[in-house]
Subunit: 344 residues, 4 copies
C-alpha cells in the first residue's frame, strides 16, 4: 500500500482527494493536516465521508510526513514551494495541486502570483502533471505540478488543433466557464450563493493566472508562440468546466475529427464525441474524463472545439490520482473507475 | 388609454408583457387569447398577477381584436404571419414578438424556420423593432418585428464596433449564454430542471436561427458582409443573457471606450460601464437595460465586448413596450421605470 | 421630502432598502454609511443601482445623521442599540432592521444574542414594526423594531389561527424554509454556493433566535402561552421564505378560510388564496406581499397553513418602508407598488 | 452472472439503474426497452454512459425477456401490473420500481391511482422491497414492489419512533422536500427549470399518493393506526429528499438516540448521526444511504427526526439493486459501494 499524506485537507481539492483516495485500493491515507482544524475528526467537517475515514486533521507543525511515500499539497498557492524541498530530501514524492510549480520561469510566476518564489531551484525538476503530454516524465518524477482546472480543459481541447500548421498562426479564443467550486472553499463574498446564484458573469477579463500556464503548455507542445485570448466566466452551478475554443483556418482545411481521434486514440480519460455533437458539463460530473466535440459551423472558416471536465476531478484531485498511479507503476485508471457520471 | 390585445398570453413573453402592461399608465389590456386555456382567469395561471388583472384568457376564434389600438403576438413562430394582415387592414397596429417578420427575405426565413411564409408581402413594410437602430421608423410603423433575445444583445454589443473599418473585416466570435426562460414555456425534456440544472452546455452548434437575424442587422448597419461565428449556451438559471464578443484589430487601434460612449450617449436603455469592468446578468434582471463593457486584455490585438440583458425584458416584452411607446408618441421609458434590477 | 439615512448599507437589507428608497417618491437618501467601504461610490459596489443614486458610502464616525428625519439601521445585531438613543434625542426617528429592539425583555435578548444589551431603557418605547398587529402604534413611534424575516412569515400565518380557542392549546409546528439571502451578505463558508447549492438542509435544530421573537408575537396577540416547535431549513435559492404551519383542532372545527378572510380583509399586503391552493415563493418575489393558503388535508384534524414572503422585502426592507410610510402619514403602499412579482 | 432486463429505460429511475448496473460485478444487462426510442443506442440518449454500455433500446413488443433472471420495471404506473404475471410464469423474477404492487389493497390502489388494477391476484405475493423491514421475505420473493421515494425516507425515519407506545398515539407531521428528479423525466410545464428554479413550493397539499403507502408501512410495522399529515414540497435542486418528522411524547420520554441506534445497528445503509446534528441532502448524493438525525428542541415535548436520501438511489434504483442482491443471495452492498457521496 502506498502511504499518502495530504497537506491542507479542508478545501475542495482536499476533500475530493479524500473521496477518491478512501476508495483507492492501493492507497492508505496516513495523515491529513490542517492548521485551523487540527484535532477535528475529518468526518465532522465532511460528514459524507462518515464510515470511510477514521482520522482527525493534524497540526502541520506536529505531523511528520517523512514516512509517506507521497504527499499531496492541497494548499493555497505559496505553501508547497516552502515545504517540498525537505520532503524530497527525505525521499518523499510530492504532487502539488496548487500553482507553485506549474510555470517554468520563476519571474513569470512571481509576476502573476504576487509573491517571491521560495524554491526556484525546483522548477526545472518539477514535471507538469498532464499525462496526455507528459506521461513518461510523470512516471519517474519526484515532484509533480498538478495542472490548473482551466489549463487542463483548454490544453486538452487545443493540443491537436495547434499541432496543425494551418491553424497555429490563428488568434485563438478560449471562452471558458466554471462552476463555483473552482474558486475553492474560501469564505469570500463573491462566492456566496446569494451573489453567484441565478446570475452569469465574466471575471478577470483583464488577465487571469491560468493564461500563462496555458500558453506555456501550448508553446511546449508546438515550439511556437500562440496568440490566445482567454476569458473566464462563473456559472451558477457547483461543479464543471466548459471551454468553447475558437480558431480560424489559415490554410486548407483538414479532417479535424480524424486528427483528434488519432491523437487521443489511446487516452483512457479522453472521450471524443461524433462531429456535430454539443457537450454538457454534467456528462463528466464526478469522473476523471475530458469529453471533446468538434464543430465547423456554417462554413465560416472557424473551428469550434468544446471541452468539458469536472473541475475537481480531471481538473484537480482526479488528475492527481492519475499522476499517483503513473508515479507508482499502477494502472492509470486505478481508483478512478467506473467513470460513470452522476446524471441527472 | 391605448387598447392592447395579446395573442398567446400563456408563454413567458406573454406573461412578461402582462407584468409590464398592467403597470403601464397608458395601456389597457382588453384581451388575452389562448386556445388551450380559454375561459381560465389569467391569475389562475399566473398567481403573481393576482389583484392586478381581472381578465380571463379568451378563445382566439371568438375574440375580435379589431377595436384594439395595438395587438402583440406572443405566439410561436408562424402565427402572426397568418393574422397580421387582417389586423392591419382593420387599422390595428401589430408588434410580433416571434420571428415571422424579422428577416427581410422570405426564402432565407423559410430555410431557417422550416415553413412557408404566409405573408411575404408584409416583409417590406415590417420594421425591425430595435430602437437603437430604427427609432424613427418605429414611430410610424404599422407592423413591428420585435427582435430576438440573442440578436438584441449581440447587435447592441457589436454595432459600434463593426462601424469601424479596422475591425469590420475581422472574423467575429459571439459566445453567448442564456438562462432557460429563453427557450419559452413549452414542455420539452431538455428544459426540465432535472436536465438543465447543475449543468452548462452548448447547443445548436451547427447553426442557430438567430444567426441570420444578427447578420442582417450588422449588414444593414454597415453595408458590409460580416463573418460571424455564433455559439449559444444554456446556463442553469432562469433569466439573463450574456454575450462575450470577440474581434481582432485589422489596423491601428482606436479608443473604443470613447467610441461606444459617443455612439450610445443618448440611449435611455444602454449603460456602458467603465473600461476594464466585467458584467453579470443579474445587474439587469427585470429591467429593460442593456449593459456593455469593453476590454482589450493582454495586448493581444483582440477586442472583448460584453453585453448583458434580461432576455424577457430588453430581449422580448420590455423592448415591445419600448416600441409601443415609440409608436404612440409616448416617452420611450413609460412603464419601464424605475430601471432597478432585482439584486440579489 | 423625507430625509433618510442608512447605517450599514453594504448588506442585503441595506441594498434592498436602497433599491426601494431610490424609487420612493417621498424619500431622499442623504447618507449611507459603511465603515469598511467609506469613500466608495454606492454604485461601484451595487452596479444595478447605476443611474439612480449618486452617493458614496460615508464613514459612520464622520457622518452626522442628526438632520435626517429617519435613520434605518441595516447593521449587524448590537449596533443600533448603541446609537439609537442619541438619534432619538436629536429628534431623529429610527427603524432598526436588526434584532436589537425586537424582544421586550433584555435578559431574554441577552440569552439568545450573546451580548449585553446597551439600551434596555429603550425596549419599552420600541414598537414592533409588524403593521398587521401594530399599525396604530407604528404611526406615532419614534423607534421601530423591524421584525425578523421568519417571524414575519410565521406570525402572519398563525395569527388568525391561534386567536381560535380550539386551536391555541395545540402544539404548533413551524417548518420554515429560506433562501440563502436570509443569512446576509457576510463571507461565511456555509453560505458559499458550493456549499449551499444543489442541497437542502435543516439548521439550528436545537434552537433559533427567531423562536422567542415569534413566541413573543403570539403571546402578545393572544395573551396565552403557545407551544411552538420551529425548525428552519436552507433552500438552494436566493430569495424567499416559505412556512408550512401545522396545528391540531382541540375542539369543533370552524371555517378557517372565512376566518382568515375576515381577519385580513383590509390588509394591503396580505393575499389569501382560495382553499386548497398551494403556494410558491416566487409568487411574491420582489414584492412586499405575504401570500397565505389554508388546507385541512385528509380529514386528519390537522390544519396546514402556508405563508410565503420575500425575505428581503416583506421580511426586511419592504416592511421597513411600509413602517416609514405609516410613521410619516403617507399611504402605506407608497414606493411599494406595483406589487408585481418577477416571475419567472 | 445475473441476466437483467429493464422495461422502460428512458426515465430517471431507468437511467440510474443503468448507471448502477453497468458497474455491478454480477449483473449483465441484456435488454433495455423503450417503445418511443427503439433502435436508439442507449448512449445516444445518455452520453454519460458512453463506453460502458453497448446496447440499443429495443421495442418492448419484440423483446423476449423470458430468458432474463430478473426484470426491472422502470415504467409509469400501470405497466408492470399488466406484464408481471407472464414473466413470473416464465420463471423470471420481477422488481417493479413503479407503484403497481406497493399497496396491499386493490381498491385503495385504484382510488389513489385512478385506474383499474390489472393484477390484483398478485398483490398478496408481492413483497414490499424495503429491506429494513422485509429483508427475509425479499430474499425469496418472486415479485418485489420497490418502495416510493418519500415512503422510503419517511418510513425509515419514523419506524423506530412509532414502535414506542408513548409516541404512537401522537399526530405525526411529515414535512418532506424533494428535488425535481423525483417527478421523473416527463415533459411537464411545472417541472421546467424556468418554473421550478429559484422558487420553493408545496404541492399536493390536499393529498398525495405516497400517503397511503407510508400509512400501510407504519400500520404493518406496529399493528396500529397512525395519524399522519404528509405535505410534500419541491426544492430547486435535482437530487435529494429531506423529511422533517414531528411527533409529541404522550408519556414519559425515553432515550431516542439509543433506541434508534439499537434498531438500526446492523443496517448497512442507515447512518444515524449524533444527537443534535442537522442533515443536508448532499451528504447522501449518489449513494444508497439513508442518514438520520434526532432532536428534541427546546424541551417542548416534540421530537424532530430528520431523514435524508438520494431519491434516485435509496429512493429508487439503488434500493432496487439492494433488493436484487438479496434476491440472488449476494452481499447486500454489491455494486453499491463505495458509499461516497459527491460533495460538493
Amino acid at each position: 500500500m502506498i502511504k499518502a499524506g495530504i497537506v491542507g485537507g479542508t478545501g475542495y481539492t482536499g476533500s475530493e482527494l479524500l473521496r477518491l483516495l478512501t476508495a483507492h485500493p492501493q492507497v492508505d491515507i496516513i495523515a491529513v493536516t490542517s492548521r485551523a482544524d487540527a484535532g477535528t475528526p475529518v468526518t465532522a467537517m465532511f460528514p459524507h465521508l462518515r464510515g470511510h475515514l477514521d482520522l482527525a486533521f493534524s497540526d502541520p507543525e506536529q505531523t511528520c510526513l517523512d514516512n509517506c511515500d507521497l504527499v499531496f499539497f492541497a494548499t493555497p498557492n505559496g505553501t508547497a514551494m516552502r515545504q517540498a524541498g525537505d520532503l524530497l530530501a527525505a525521499g518523499v514524492r510530492v504532487i502539488d495541486l496548487a500553482a507553485d510549480f506549474r510555470l517554468p520561469d520563476a519571474h513569470l510566476w512571481e509576476r502573476w502570483y504576487g509573491m517571491v518564489h521560495a524554491a526556484p531551484h525546483l522548477l526545472d525538476e518539477a514535471v507538469y502533471g498532464l499525462p496526455e503530454i507528459n506521461r513518461e516524465a510523470i512516471r519517474t518524477a519526484r515532484l509533480v505540478a498538478n495542472p490548473g482546472c482551466y489549463p487542463t480543459a483548454v490544453t486538452l481541447g487545443l493540443l491537436p488543433l495547434i499541432e496543425l500548421d494551418d491553424i497555429a498562426a490563428s488568434p485563438i479564443i478560449a471562452d471558458v466557464k466554471s462552476g463555483v467550486s473552482g474558486a475553492g472553499r474560501k469564505a469570500a463574498t463573491p462566492l456566496l450563493m446569494a451573489e453567484a446564484g441565478e446570475s452569469f458573469k465574466a471575471y478577470s477579463v483583464t488577465g487571469h493566472r491560468h493564461q500563462p500556464e496555458i500558453l506555456t503548455n501550448l508553446r511546449r507542445a508546438t515550439g511556437r508562440e500562440i496568440s490566445l485570448t482567454f476569458v473566464p466566466h462563473l456559472v451558477p452551478m457547483v461543479r464543471g468546466i466548459e471551454a468553447t475554443l475558437y480558431a480560424c483556418w489559415q490554410g486548407p482545411r483538414q479532417d479535424l475529427q480524424a486528427h483528434y481521434e488519432a491523437r487521443y486514440r489511446d487516452e483512457p480519460f479522453i472521450d471524443l464525441l461524433p462531429g456535430g455533437s454539443a457537450l454538457e458539463t454534467r456528462s463528466v460530473r464526478g469522473t476523471n474524463l475530458c469529453r471533446l466535440a468538434i464543430n465547423e459551423p456554417l462554413d465560416a472558416g472557424v473551428v469550434v472545439v468544446q471541452a468539458v471536465i469536472d473541475n475537481l476531478v480531471k481538473g484537480a484531485a482526479g488528475q492527481a490520482v492519475q499522476n499517483l498511479n503513473l508515479m507508482f507503476g499502477l494502472d492509470e485508471r486505478l481508483g478512478l473507475e467506473p467513470m460513470l457520471a452522476l446524471v441527472p
